[in-house]
């Protein structure tokens, strides 16, 4: 069975890029366009891993991840954001993120991080 990845990003452009990359590499994808949708869709889709942006309308990625981890303490998430700042990375790790990748990320680096989290 293909691992299911939830892509959470407010940019349709980024979501489409990631859907293409992941579907070409054997992953099933579901998407959410902000933190509010992410929490709702996580409960419905129960993905194996979440790729979470930080800057989003309505609810940012850090808040959304905290809520998802309350719903499911075993939830696995990789932050995928252009914000490469120690305070944000530290907070993400405290909330339970398994990795913190900076956009634009190389395809190989992202796929390696997914394999590691899913292994």
């Amino acid at each position: 069975m293909m691992p299911k990845v939830m892509i959470v990003d407010d940019s349709m452009f980024m979501r489409n890029r990631l859907i293409k990359l992941l579907s070409e590499n054997g992953y099933e994808t579901v998407t959410a366009c902000d933190g509010v949708d992410a929490v709702r869709i996580y409960g419905e889709a129960r993905p194996d891993v979440v790729l979470m942006d930080i800057t989003m309308p309505r609810k940012d990625g850090l808040e959304a991840l905290a809520e998802i981890r309350q719903l499911d303490p075993t939830a696995k998430a990789i932050m995928l954001t252009a914000l490469d700042q120690p305070l944000l990375a530290g907070r993400a790790v405290l909330i339970g993120a398994k990795d913190f990748l900076t956009k634009p990320v190389r395809s190989g680096r992202l796929l390696m991080a997914l394999r590691k989290v899913l292994s």
Partner: protein, 216 residues
Amino acid sequence: MNEQEIWDSVTGGSHARLWLDMAMKRVTQALSDTVGEPFHHGALRAEAVPVAGIAERIGDPKAKTVGVQLQIKGDARGQALLLFPWESALRLVELLMEVPPRTTSDVGFAERTALAEVGNLSVAHFLNALVAYLAQPRRLQPSPSSVLVDTLEAILRLALMPVAIRGDDPLVIETILANAGGTIQIHFLLLPEQTGRQGPDMAATRGPGARAFRRA
């Protein structure tokens, strides 16, 4: 270090030129990696500019333009504005969306989200460089991007309205990002929120003798 001191340290400190150059290198690298072809940045300026004069510095005020606007929040506030001349916006969209050159003639929803992401990446990498430069635990984040399509003067009028109402000459950090062939040009403007009096170095940048940082 308060909000005003954060902005002063990067625009008026002794290492300001070096820092701004380094920050813009990070921006151009992120842009190059996203678009898939090399970008560079032009002359860097950090100076106080009358609001009324900004449009004419950039280009034809009546020219059709795409603007991507982001608020800066966290430990220091301000706003960033990326301005794409119409033809540059179309060429950039074609590269981002991997469609043949000269086949895009309008900017719809999909194209706007691609340009918004360019704004998000560019400003985020600039703020990352600022946080690294401060060498103190700080958090600086852009808001989600707003994309505007209008004449240059209309976009600037909207974006600069809060500054114009206050009657300040805003501090503007400005450069041009361009690809190798020069077919894509992006004006990058950053306007720190001025919460206190201007620092001495910044005041010295006002007027015709204003400091202009030129790329080596």
